[in-house]
Symmetry: C2
Subunit: 146 residues, 2 copies
């Protein structure tokens, strides 16, 4: 399957060393520029406070099936982590949509690297994408209270 960027993400983070590990730590502002040819597809997006960005981890190369995540010192299975080095380098972030001008969205809570190729935008709707009463495996006790 060939995937082509529909736009590009601008963020303050030029490389992995400066990027927050996950957007819940980030209040960073970013821009999502959708190619003009897709602009009409942004109709009605303004009504949503949060959107899901799918993008390419464009700086990642290769992967390991066991990785040492930043929140633990033991190796974990790759698919039990959000490590950017994956067989398919697709990232997913939920961000707050704080503005739009034509084909450019302003978002808050971005963690993607600058110039990440944008692959898709979906509305964030808790009915579809959130679940309560969940178990979070090895991350239990490692995350701050929200």
């Amino acid at each position: 399957m060939i995937v082509k960027p529909i736009g590009v993400i601008s963020s303050p983070f030029k490389n992995r060393g400066t990027a927050p590990i996950q957007p819940f730590q980030s209040k960073a502002i970013g821009k999502v520029t959708v190619h003009k040819k897709y602009q009409k597809g942004l109709t009605d997006i303004d009504g949503f406070s949060h959107i899901i960005l799918l993008y390419q981890f464009h700086k990642s190369k290769g992967y390991d099936l066991l990785v040492r995540p930043y929140l633990d010192d033991k190796l974990k299975g790759l698919f039990a982590t959000r490590a950017p080095r994956r067989p398919n380098q697709i990232g997913m972030s939920v961000v707050e949509l704080i503005g739009r001008k034509d084909n450019v969205l302003t978002v808050k809570g971005i963690d993607a690297l600058d110039k990440s190729p944008l692959l898709d935008i979906k509305p964030f709707v808790p009915h579809f994408s959130a679940r309560k009463k969940v178990k979070i495996g090895w991350l239990k006790g490692k995350l701050p209270n929200k």
Copy 2:
């Protein structure tokens, strides 16, 4: 960017007509078979009650930038909907993980079509992927209480 399946999803839904529109309506059981070569990456996944599946909408062709979603009779911008016909045909579902045997996960609440190529698995962690107090645009008032 070339994306290669890391496995395949089995579900009761052979085509769009029989599939639930979104997994919150679905209690359907499915199987996620990860290719053997990636099995080690599933280590530690069992601790998570919910996982995010990224997969290809393999039956979808082309797209329109304005679509008439099932919950409304007016045209909406494509990126304000979850329509499967998109510039990049990538689907995302949060499902309950109810079992694993080696490289095969049993999941509940699947809405993907049978034989959907699996692209990635990420753990569902509310800190990263869920937000409270959200506005859901044109979907307001159209979804059942949870």
